[in-house]
Amino acid sequence: MSITVYVPCDSSAVSVGANRVANAITQEAEKRGVAINVVRNGSRGMYWLEPMVEVATENGRIAYGAVKTSDVASLFDADFLNGGSHALSLGLTEEIPYFKKQQRLTFARVGITDPVSLEDYIAHDGYRGLKNALEISQADIVKHVSDSGLRGRGGAAFPTGIKWNTVLNTPADQKYIICNADEGDSGTFSDRMIMEGDPFVLIEGMTIAGLAVSATQGYIYLRIEYPHAFEILNTAIANAYAAGYLGDDVQGSGRAFHLEVRQGAGAYVCGEETSLMESLEGKRGLVRFKPPLPAISGLFGKPTVVNNVISLASVPIILDKGGDFYRDFGMGRSRGTLPLQLAGNLKHPGLVELAFGATLREVLYDFGGGSATGKPIRAVQVGGPLGAYLPESQFDTPLDYEAFAALWAVVGHGGIVAFDDTVDMAEMAKYSMEFCAAESCGKCTPCRIGSTRGYEVMDEIVNKRDLDKNIPLLRSLCDTMLNSSLCALGGMTPYPVLSALNHFPEDFGVSVEHNAA
């Protein structure tokens, strides 16, 4: 029997050479006349060890990493196919502390299965949630999701059950499920990992959502920056259709659910749900006024559920094990788990799925291993480009929506970007304004003009010109953007800007005592 070797096809693993390593292993095996079966799995999320090669043994999978093509011959020499010892040996994958300490619910299969193998998905508890959903009423499906306490993982943290219930109770001849896969927040990659590493869990979650609210058509709005996810999703969708998990008659239930992937075109604002729907309709991605809520009048004017990838990918386990099972993880009103993405200047960046409640410090040091450069971590941005910067004094905050909100910060989509002490926070604030100016849809004035003025004012501040005038001007401008922008882009750009100013005034040329907010 041939030995199974796993080399991730995850695009981050590929970005550091996984394809070359996979080819080198195949060639070396041929040269030596050894029969192996190379499976391209998702990533386990320990990116500093990528490309991480795993070998299936009687005792479980044994990992080697980070593997370079030049290591391949010596791995064969060390009999890695039977778990032989090598300088790159990491032991049993699931005993690696970084992995073992996690609570993987949504990411249960990522890195374990062949992403596009439906057989593999089903063998690893896949489609059990759908099976249950087909046996209960629509109201009961929604009740499980409500009971789970699941809140929108895209960043806004709105209760998913309430959204679904509204769509369920709005009569219409057509309803839609949209998966927001426009993962534009810098420092985040969990959506990408799910779509590349376990696409069926998303397909199953969307199918359950469709059944729950009587929506027969789903769209995955995928950012153009993820071409690899596009291919994997389309392959998985084709496989699901072929096996009767999608189509006019889902698993013989007589109920239809169709699914299509649509690509965005490089506009950050299209991650905002109403802008996303405009884009799906073939228009400029201008933000809509709310109300009407998308749940009442959304895509093409029809009731629409818009959920993030991680929210939808968490639904199958909720329907499999029940809302109570999921709700038992977490703290306060933040229930379940959050896949955190450790990024930036960290020694051990990667994906860490944990129940809500771990502190930022635990995540940064116990998992992240401190900074990659070995210098002190000075600032951490949590929640993407619109998230606040937190100084060291706030590192003991638990990862919980309300605890972060109390600090005027956000958990958002769970991205954590660390900076060492070489960072210039005034430059980062200037960058935030520049980003907002580049990505503003232009519909509302506070965002469109405020961001450009903000960039100009920050440029003055960075050059230490007229600080007595410009600092109050910056605060006033941020106040306008915060309180009168149409959506979160203009409305939250002040978070990184003002948190940088408030916590790191010295970088703005302002002394702490003169920096009253």
């Binding site: 970005s15 500093w48 810098s186 420092g187 075109a265 970007v417």
Partner: protein, 155 residues
């Protein structure tokens, strides 16, 4: 067999996709995939098929960073400008790329080999700094790595 002309390519794409709901973005993607950009002279054809004005189609093309109305170089290099990459030397890499190519963002080298575009996050934040060339993403890119990639692509 002769190669289809630009207009024939666009007409085939439009005929295939125009009946999809919200067809404009899928059509623009297909055109750009086939031709490398959306030539302004194809806009009237697209607009007519979808019963839109030329201004509406132009408005959509110009709204999205990804769509372009001029031919790109042989290779498009995208440098991530976002925070995670900035925390790992992204600014120095960006400066190096611009100096080496001798162009700024949204420009193409005189020999038509490389176009340079900024990008705000490739989702490769655990392997920062990152760049993309064509559809291939590269992580933990040093200035030396970039020089080697450039040599490889120029060959």
């Amino acid at each position: 067999m002769t190669e289809p002309t630009m207009m024939q390519t666009v007409q085939t794409i439009v005929a295939d996709l125009k009946d999809k709901k919200g067809a404009l973005l899928p059509i623009l993607h297909a055109v750009q995939n086939a031709l490398g950009y959306v030539p302004p002279e194809t806009v009237p054809t697209i607009a007519k098929a979808l019963n839109l004005s030329r201004a509406e189609v132009h408005g959509v093309i110009s709204f999205y960073h990804y769509f372009r109305d001029t031919a790109p170089g042989k290779h498009t290099i995208q440098v991530c400008r976002a925070e995670s990459c900035l925390s790992m030397g992204g600014k120095a890499l960006e400066n190096h790329v611009k100096t080496t190519l001798g162009i700024d963002y949204h420009e193409t080298t005189a020999d038509g080999q490389f176009s340079l575009e900024p990008i705000y996050c490739l989702g490769n934040c655990a392997c920062s700094p990152a760049i993309q060339i064509g559809k291939d993403v590269y992580g933990k890119v040093s200035t030396t790595d970039f020089d080697e990639l450039l040599k490889e692509k120029s060959a």
